[in-house]
Amino acid sequence: MQGEPANVAGRPERPRLARLSLLLRGEVKSLEEWSAQWDSRRILSHVGIIIVGAGLYGAAMGCWRDPMQALYTAIKFPLIILLTAAANAMLNAMLAPLLGLNIPFRQSFLAILMSFTIAGAILGSFAPLVAFVIWNSPPMTADLRQSAGPYAFILLTFVVIIAFAGITSNLRLLQLLRHLGGRKSVALCVLLAWLAGNLFFGTQLSWILRPFIGAPGLKVEFLRRDAFKGNFYETIFRTTVQVFTFD
């Protein structure tokens, strides 16, 4: 099978792990080949990696608050990634040729799905570490004085790991775009445009699907009652106005 990696001694990895290993190594020729045609089994395996990886990470995040919250976050985390990929697929496919990268819808969608798969795999690999950090933390309490230190540390850990996963997956996507488009500036423009769209949509989706950890005083629930009231950007705008008007 072309693109199937073998280790140094020439022994092939199991097919699914082999694909993941190849994806993580960012071997652009194989990735270009993968993105050139629809292969339902490969797409399913990528979706599976996202569901398992991001789901495990979400579960590890949510378990600090409550086991039920762990289940909810395990569902919500992969959902955000998959919905963002699906909802922006059309826009991303249109932006690429407009910015000078002439690739079809299939190729742009699969390239983004592959970068999300890399992020999912990285998040999943860090899930045991996050669970270990949470196991070692004092339980979440309503008294902020008691849990402020660990809360800050845990949030920082989450952010660092998510940032690492995001940066790494986008670097791999940039490599692929450069290979597809030839010019560095074009690849960078397309990546930035895709990132802007995905971040804009993903942020609002995360706002709707909150909470991911949950404040200790509030009930554990899948969606807040006011989930569809207002949006993230509106709230940021209102808060900024409040800060400057000392309201």
Binding site: P5, A6, N7, V8, A9, R11, E13, L17, L20, S21, L24, R25, A121, I122, G124, S125, F126, A127, P128, L129, F132, W135, N136, S137, P138, P139, P150, F153, T168
Partner: protein, 276 residues
């Protein structure tokens, strides 16, 4: 001499004499400038000899670590991985008994269980991230191979800990300070772990990895996890009526508390002595 063992092997008598550092040596024939790329594994026929028992695994990891690395890449390496894990567990249990001799009684079984279990759990927690870092660095090592290498690292670390065991035992019989003993065990573990990690790093360089940044990051994560594990499973050196601690703490705050308690105890004893 090999990459993991800087001690040169026995030089046969027919070999040319090694020039003394202060003598003015005659100009030797200039060898061709070799690149820093490591020699491929299995180049030496000795490295291709299979490892068929735990004893051979111990001998190989100390004297011919490249043989272990090569064998882990071959078909049927499962048996070798099991040997590496079993020897690591056995050595951890033995060292744990030595740790337990400080408090005696139930710590004689609690300390080995906590040390062996904690070490294995730490390795399993960090294994997925090592695989991901390896792949991101361009390494072609399989997951099973990386698992084998981590077990090799644990085995080398615990074998070295066995080497430190008599020293640790002697100190544990001659002091009553839990802090002192805890620090000593941590120093021994740190030294042993450096050798274990060096084995892993050498193996990593043979897996076509283009960069060491991911591996170095992983080393920091692994060290932090193991140190935190010693706090999560406390007490290992001292004794307690509970197997697991009820209070969750990060290792730095636990160490600070230990130092504070020790200082208070010293002050109390000093004031008692002065009263007498």
């Amino acid at each position: 001499m090999n990459e993991n063992n800087p001690i040169p092997p026995h030089i046969p008598s027919s070999a040319p004499p090694v020039p003394q550092p202060h003598a003015t040596p005659p100009l030797p024939p200039v060898p061709p400038v070799s690149s820093h790329a490591p020699k491929p594994l299995g180049e030496n026929p000795e490295e291709r000899a299979p490892i068929t028992s735990p004893i051979q695994a111990v001998e190989a990891i100390l004297r011919q670590p490249r043989r272990v690395m090569y064998q882990l890449q071959q078909p049927g390496a499962g048996a070798l991985m099991i040997y590496l894990m079993l020897v690591a567990l056995f050595c951890a249990v033995v060292y744990g008994v030595v740790v337990g001799t400080f408090s005696m009684h139930e710590q004689l079984w609690i300390a080995p269980v906590k040390i062996a279990g904690g070490m294995l759990v730490s390795a399993f927690i960090c294994l997925p991230s090592l695989y991901i870092f390896a792949c991101l660095s361009g390494s072609r090592a399989r997951l099973a191979e990386i698992y084998g290498l981590v077990m090799g690292m644990l085995m080398l670390t615990t074998i070295l800990l066995i080497g430190f065991a008599p020293v640790a035992w002697l100190f544990s019989q001659s002091t009553e300070s839990v802090n002192w003993m805890g620090t000593l065990h941590l120093i021994f573990w740190f030294i042993a772990a450096l050798f274990g990690l060096r084995f892993l790093n050498t193996a990593f360089s043979h897996s076509q990895a283009k960069s060491n940044a991911g591996f170095n990051t992983w080393v920091v994560i692994f060290m932090l996890v193991v140190v935190q594990m010693t706090t999560a499973l406390r007490p290992i050196v001292g004794s307690s009526d509970k197997f697991f601690p009820t209070e969750k703490k990060f290792f730095l705050s636990y160490w600070a508390d230990c130092l504070k308690d020790s200082a208070e105890k010293n002050n109390y004893e000093r004031s008692n002595d002065q009263r007498r």
